[in-house]
Subunit: 492 residues, 2 copies
């Protein structure tokens, strides 16, 4: 709790790291680049999982589980995919340790237990899954396959940041197989919409839906759709992707089906995923210098009740009333914690629950008891009001809804104010450095220009928004013709 507070203005990056650690969300582990997700952070992730899982099932998907390891020969089967991930693969080469003959208290890798074929720790599961699907698919009757997996994956990252970029992370990966191209394209779109709905309704994070450029596409995809959020420091964050894989993986793993006319065809594929990265997006959309701010729809604790008392008798009196309030709120489906720890003062508790982002705090002292009222504070705006205890269930429920809405609207206002159309290169650089956020600009459509802009400014094309209007213009960098604007930004 007692930590050297850095404000967002002073050092956003340090503020973020301190918040993640001090609010008990996650911490660095003894393994380079891997994090420990602490119980409070994991409880938020579980709420995300539950909701996403419900949405996946509502759209007809089932969960399954595929191996952690991918044999090297399978991994390299789809060339572009292999090439894209080869540089960040953890590789298992041995399957046994033995006692070090030079120091009996130590273990060494047993050179006699070398694998004939190395195993890659999955950075993504297309290869192992399409190898499996080959056995599941013979006829059009076996399609579609609509499967999702909740799993850990490993990508050997050189620079890591808690939640945003870690060597191991948790995610879900949907992998679907279809008889027709159109069905696969529809699935790709459908799942992007599921992600967007989740981001906006649950995370209260507004997102832009669009298509990635070829340079930014998933390795092995024909098309990558994405949702992009804007963080408080003006950087963009890719929050989820949905890939139309065409027949690339079916081709690599020879997955064909007999169609209704009795002819053999290659199967069409999609994959889509979101990860614990969403935790970073959640934190950087809403939090403030006092700590985390959680949207009620994802808060493990929605309301905390803090008693203000002197001596055991007063506590008992307050506790009785507090527990009655807790029950009444819980009947409305609200999650409540009564913080009756006698080891900490109310001021400390207030600061701790603020740090942890609990949406609503109820403070109860002896005077409140007499008046049949309590002080209710909301985390987002820090406004306080005195409410009659009898009114609490309805009023707190409305308050939670209002906080959820306010967080989304505030984030949307900030985001909308940070989409800046620019028409010249000087303006581009000026906005990128001084105003930050998304830049809406014309681009000539070449990877070369995209790469040059990235080299010079670190800005990348976040997406070609679905709602970009046809508009004649000239590329902000090369001056070549362009027919629509794309969104640039510096990104996480």
């Amino acid at each position: 709790m007692a930590f050297d507070k850095v404000s967002r203005d002073q050092d956003y990056s340090k503020w973020y790291n301190d918040l993640v650690v001090n609010a008990d969300l996650a911490e660095h582990s003894a393994v380079r680049g891997c994090m420990v997700i602490k119980p409070y952070g994991y409880a938020i992730w579980e709420k995300m999982q539950q909701e996403l899982d419900r949405m996946f099932k509502a759209t007809g998907h089932s969960n399954a589980y595929f191996p952690l390891f991918v044999p090297k020969s399978l991994f390299e089967a789809e060339e572009k995919n292999a090439e894209g991930f080869a540089k960040e693969c953890a590789v298992v080469t041995h399957y046994r340790l033995k006692t070090d003959p030079e120091d009996k208290s130590k273990l060494i890798v047993d050179p006699e237990a070398k694998l004939e074929e190395e195993l890659i720790v999955r950075p993504t599961s297309e290869a192992i899954i399409w190898k499996t699907y080959k056995g599941w698919i013979q006829s059009y009757r076996d399609l579609p396959i609509l499967v999702n997996q909740w799993a850990n994956v490993v990508r050997w990252e050189m620079r890591t940041r808690l939640f945003l970029r870690t060597t191991e992370f948790l995610w879900q990966e949907g992998h679907t197989a279809h008889a027709t191209k159109q069905e696969a394209i529809d699935e790709t779109n459908q799942m992007l919409n599921v992600y967007a709905e989740f981001a906006e309704k649950f995370m209260a994070t507004p997102v832009i839906k669009g298509t990635k450029t070829e340079n930014e596409r998933f390795a092995g995809a024909i098309d990558t759709l994405c949702i992009e959020g804007l963080m408080q420091d003006g950087k963009a964050l890719q929050m989820g992707t949905s890939h139309f894989l065409g027949q690339n993986f079916a081709d690599a793993f020879d997955v064909k089906f007999t169609n209704k006319e009795g002819k053999q065809e290659l199967v069409w594929a999609t994959s889509w995923g979101v990860s614990t990265r969403l935790m970073g997006a959640l934190i950087m959309t809403h939090s403030d210098d006092e700590g985390l701010v959680l949207p009620p729809n994802l808060a493990p604790i929605q309301v905390v009740i803090v008693p203000i008392y002197k001596g055991v008798d007063q506590l008992e009196e307050i506790a009785e009333k507090a527990l009655a309030i807790k029950s009444a709120l819980e009947e409305k489906g609200i999650s409540v914690k009564f913080d009756d720890r006698d080891t900490h003062k109310p001021g400390f508790k207030f600061a701790e629950w603020e740090l942890k982002g609990v949406p609503v705090r109820i403070a109860m002292g002896p005077r409140d008891l007499k008046n049949g009222s309590v002080e209710v504070a909301r985390r987002d705006t820090k406004e306080k009001e005195t409410l009659l205890i009898s009114d609490l269930p309805n009023k707190v429920q409305h308050l939670l809804e209002s906080i959820q809405e306010n967080l989304f609207l505030s984030a949307k206002t900030y985001r909308d104010n940070h989409i800046t159309p620019v028409n010249t290169w000087d303006e581009f650089k000026d906005v990128l450095e001084n105003k930050t956020g998304f830049i809406s600009a014309h681009w000539d459509g070449t990877g070369e220009t995209e790469e040059k802009i990235k080299q010079e400014t670190k800005a990348t094309i976040r997406c070609i928004p679905f709602d970009a209007e046809e508009e004649a213009g000239s590329c902000v960098f090369s001056g070549n013709p362009s027919n629509k604007r794309v969104l640039f930004a510096k990104a996480y």
Copy 2:
């Protein structure tokens, strides 16, 4: 569906494997010893997870997530634990692949990307977790820590069987830290009771609670408690373990706390786990030659409705009624599938849902419609009855309860009839070979005798049951004195 049926009597092992594959529960993957858990199998595992997770949370535990990898130096810190798992560790030695200079379509391990310190893929997480807990624990106020993790683990097994023994498996591992020895012992017992309750109430599998002998103890534990089930072929299966770890891990990782008197003490530990092995136990407790038999409390589909019709018109008529029945049952919290596939005949569907273990099947034909009744068949006893549609919600609910109870009682009768007290070595061998099941016999308490019995008969001591009575006797093998009977069996 069409598979060469082997009965349990003919070849139990083949019957099991065929069932797992044909009922769409799991299959072997392209990775040696690793399985793919298919959607239907995973749905059962999810039901297990949900219930266990609810029970863990009800006893005060939270979930968290720790790294997949354990650096070798941490892994070897607790000597016995390290020694116990060293021979079955998958080891990551490199973090990058590169294009094979001799064949550009292939990848090879990049020798320049060798890790300074090898990483072990966790076979269990005590080491990485206690390294983490060191940072979490300073004072008695930080205790207890009650954390659970749902995760994948890897143990390099030479002989694998779907669900029962796989190189990678899914499990939960609880890891708790306590200020006192008694508290840790109480926790160890509490979690064993949670497992036993889950096994009996949800899996309908009766279990014996007991203590493992020193030979069978978890590597690094002071005491290992277990629940043991009995499979239909007379072999025992360890279904869950709960370990009292004493101060072994606190000592290895130097985890101390300041007690209320201001003195430094080592922390006390427990760990406990169940895995996808439970799927094997579930299958081998209840299933029959027709396929899987699922207890209603864990069945993803509790009731299937199969229409019997000729032509589209009849189907439409039946469908209307079937969907009304489905809704009425769902209102009671019952999960229902209406199997209206026009690609398969009723007989095929009957066999398929039998194979998949759906507890209740409702068949609806045109004559039934006229009579306002349907044919209801229960999977466990295969009894059928004709019920009025208006009675279905209540009657099906009772039927599901009755199936759940019957499965438990049948399994318990079988189990109880297969606990055989024996007093001589000849009798021991005879019962083990011919009657099978648990043998209740005196044992002299030495690891030497235990080992000799295992060498000679393959029987191991499954546990020293909690309810074993004090009774003077002599060891069935050595003749040396013994004061209580223990349970022997051949085991999975």
